[in-house]
Structure formats: structure tokens, C-alpha cells
């Protein structure tokens, strides 16, 4: 009965918006080049956004992609930030696989890494919420808390003017997401799956951000820069389809970089 009432409330709200709303009068075509000076930066998509699109293409064996090893402890803050991004992405993978134990381990790991870069205080409530939601197998809440975790980490870093570390968290997550995306599509190729790799503007965004971090003179940062140079022409194909060989190649590159992020060099 409650759900019936709730349904009517939702429909009512939507109808009130629809009835009161003016029809959106927008030009059918605009000149994008005229916008170039006013364009804001992209919001980096969550790995979960890509995984959701992948799920719609067919069943994915997410358990095969779950990674639960704790990995090394780094002292360099850029390395911790990159690793934190990949661990949050691993959290989304564990949610797809509905693996409660791994999600709980990841909640703890996220907290430890956040403390390593000095933002542990703002992450403690989220880590607790992740663990509680995983215990209840409330996957939508775990997803929400993983998103909140990433956002809180980045906000806390931005507040202390550590925007560059914040960008490395996003980059770590994007790399891990791309590694898994290419692995899934490589196993069962489809052109729709390969098309999910069509993200040239995101690559340009990350390249520009890395160019602005000369102070992070670490081998892994240079390896990522080289990898992005390698990947860019492979996925910047315009209207052409991305072939299986490209997916395989991008998977090799991102797997190599992924290993570099979680391994002490």
C-alpha cells in the first residue's frame, strides 16, 4: 500500500512539473566552436557510469574482475591519491559483483589511504556507511557512499589547495574503469561495447592536468603520461568504429599502468 501511495506521489510531482513547465524552446543547432572560450571542465564520470552502460549490453561476470588484495603502503602522496582512485573504482566493481566482504575491505582500505593523504576525518563517516550498507547488502547505498567518498576526498583536498592530488584520484579511478571496460569488451567483443571507449575529451583533460604537475616527478606519473599519448589516437576515431585490436591494445596499456599503480617500484 505504501509503495502504491509513493508511486502516486512521484507521478503527481512529475505531472506538476510537466503541467507547469513551459515547453523548452531551444535552437535545434548551435555553433559549438563559438562556445570554446566559455566551456567548463568536464566532470569525470564515475566508473559506475561505464559499468552501468556495459551491463545493458549483456551479462558481465563481475566477480572475475573483483580485486581485493590490500596492496602496498606508499609514502608519496601522488601515489596514494592514484591508488585511492583505483580502490574506489574497485569498490564499484565489488558492488556490481555483489561481493559484500570485498566491499567492506575496500571501505577500510579507502579510510587508510585517505588518512595517508591527510583527509581521513572527512572520510570516516563514509567508510562506516559503506561497511554498514554492505552488511545489509544495500547496493544502491554502497554506490551512493562510494560516490560521496570520492567527492568528499576531493573537496577536502581542494579546500587545502591540493587540487592536483584530487585530479589524480579521478585519474586513478578512470584508469581502473577503463582497464575493466576493455577487459570485458575484449572477452566478448561488440561494437557498442567498444564505442564506450570513445572518450577523447576526457583523455585531453587528463593530459592537460598531468602537464600541470611537474613537481610530481615520479616514474608512475611519466608512465601514465606516455600511456595517454599511446591511447589517445586509438580512441579518437571520430565516427569510425573502434575495432577489437584497439580494445585489446588499450587493455594491455591500462593493465600495465594499473599494475604500476598498485605495485611498489
Amino acid at each position: 500500500m505504501m509503495s502504491f501511495i509513493r508511486y502516486f506521489k512521484i507521478v503527481g510531482l512529475l505531472c506538476s512539473f510537466a503541467l507547469c513547465a513551459n515547453a523548452a524552446q531551444a535552437p535545434q543547432q548551435i555553433n559549438i566552436s563559438q562556445l570554446s572560450t566559455k566551456v567548463e571542465d568536464v566532470v569525470v564520470p564515475l566508473p559506475n557510469e561505464i559499468f552501468g552502460a556495459l551491463n545493458k549490453l549483456g551479462t558481465v561476470n563481475w566477480r572475475a574482475h573483483v580485486r581485493s588484495d590490500k596492496g602496498p603502503n606508499f609514502t608519496e602522496r601522488p601515489r596514494i591519491a592514484l591508488l585511492l582512485g583505483t580502490v574506489i573504482a574497485d569498490g564499484f566493481i565489488a558492488v556490481q559483483a555483489e561481493d559484500a566482504e570485498t566491499v567492506k575491505d575496500i571501505g577500510q582500505r579507502v579510510l587508510t589511504l585517505s588518512k595517508g593523504i591527510g583527509v581521513g576525518t572527512s572520510i570516516t563517516p563514509h567508510a562506516k556507511a559503506i561497511i554498514e550498507a554492505a552488511d545489509k547488502r544495500n547496493w544502491s547505498n554502497v554506490r551512493k557512499e562510494l560516490d560521496r567518498t570520492q567527492n568528499s576526498v576531493q573537496q577536502a583536498m581542494n579546500e587545502v589547495h591540493d587540487e592536483k592530488l584530487s585530479q589524480l584520484v579521478s585519474l586513478g579511478g578512470w584508469l581502473r574503469g577503463t582497464e575493466v571496460l576493455t577487459s570485458v569488451v575484449n572477452e566478448h567483443f561488440s561494437s557498442d561495447g567498444a564505442e564506450l571507449l570513445h572518450q577523447p575529451d576526457l583523455l585531453t583533460y587528463f593530459q592537460k592536468r598531468l602537464q600541470g604537475m611537474p613537481e610530481f616527478d615520479l616514474p608512475i606519473i611519466h608512465q601514465i603520461q606516455d600511456a595517454l599519448v599511446e591511447v589517445k589516437p586509438l580512441i579518437d576515431v571520430g565516427d569510425r568504429q573502434i575495432p577489437p585490436e584497439t580494445v585489446k591494445k588499450v587493455n594491455e596499456i591500462t593493465t600495465r599502468i594499473g599494475q604500476g599503480i598498485v605495485t611498489k617500484q
Partner: protein, 149 residues
């Protein structure tokens, strides 16, 4: 006693002035975000996951801002725009990388709320154009949030 009355009158006048100026002084992008999230609320119940991250700023009447966003074919997106200035009129529209309008016909505008619905035909970059069409204020805070399912 006279002195006490004077202080009381002055303090009251100051409080009244502060109250009158409150929206202008204390309003922020965070307030605008609250309104954008309010517009998103009914859709959360339909299974849309609203991102914690958002864009925001302030615009004058008639000004536009473009935001670039990566969208994935297979997902469905809503973008919700809000401002705390309740007499303002805002709009949000989504274009593909060729500049072609890419939103669904059920996208809507209602005063200080607006929303655009996109089911991408292709994976790639899209442009979200936010605009303050009219506003009684010189600068109007705006915030844009998005959700997907």
C-alpha cells in the same frame, strides 16, 4: 533608559537591514545546488543515481555557460538546473559534439528550475548549455547536477 532605547532601536534597525539583505549576502552556489537537487528528487525514486559532483557559478540575465560532459550510449541521463532566486527564469539544454540538440521532448523549464533529459545516441562529448534567461538580481547563482540510470 533613553540610552537603552536608542541602542535597542539601532540594533533592531541593523537586524532589519541584515534580514532584508540576507538573500544577497548569504546566498551561494550551495543554495542553488539545494534547488537543483530538489528538482532531481522525484527522479531518484525512478532509479536515477544523482552524482555528488556538480557544476555551479553565477551568471547575469541573458548570460550562458557551456559545460562539457562525457555521456555513454546505453545510459539515460537527466540534468537538473536550479537557482535560489525564486523570480529568476533558467534553462538547460544539451547538444551533441556537432552542435545538434540532443535532448528528449520531455525536458522542461519551470521558473528557477529546469531539466534536460538525454538518451545518448552515441558515446562521446556533449555540451550542456545553462542560461539565466531573466532575473531580478544582477548576478544569479546557478548549480547543475546530473543523474543517470
Amino acid at each position: 533608559m533613553n540610552r537603552f532605547v536608542k541602542i535597542f532601536v539601532r540594533a533592531s534597525a541593523l537586524l532589519l537591514i541584515l534580514k532584508a539583505l540576507q538573500p544577497a549576502i548569504f546566498a551561494s552556489v550551495d543554495d542553488a545546488q539545494s534547488f537543483a537537487l530538489q528538482a532531481a528528487e522525484p527522479y531518484v525514486k525512478q532509479g536515477f543515481q544523482v552524482r555528488e559532483d556538480y557544476w555551479g557559478g553565477d551568471l547575469g540575465s541573458g548570460e550562458k555557460k557551456a559545460v562539457r560532459q562525457q555521456l555513454f550510449k546505453g545510459n539515460e541521463y537527466w540534468f537538473w538546473l536550479g537557482t535560489e532566486v525564486d523570480k529568476a527564469k533558467v534553462s538547460v539544454h544539451v547538444y551533441d559534439s556537432d552542435g545538434k540538440l540532443a535532448e528528449q521532448p520531455d525536458s522542461w523549464e519551470k521558473g528557477h528550475f529546469a531539466a534536460a533529459h538525454v538518451i545518448p545516441k552515441a558515446t562521446g562529448s556533449y555540451f550542456i548549455i545553462v542560461s539565466v534567461e531573466q532575473s531580478p538580481d544582477e548576478r544569479t547563482h546557478w548549480a547543475l547536477v546530473y543523474g543517470f540510470r
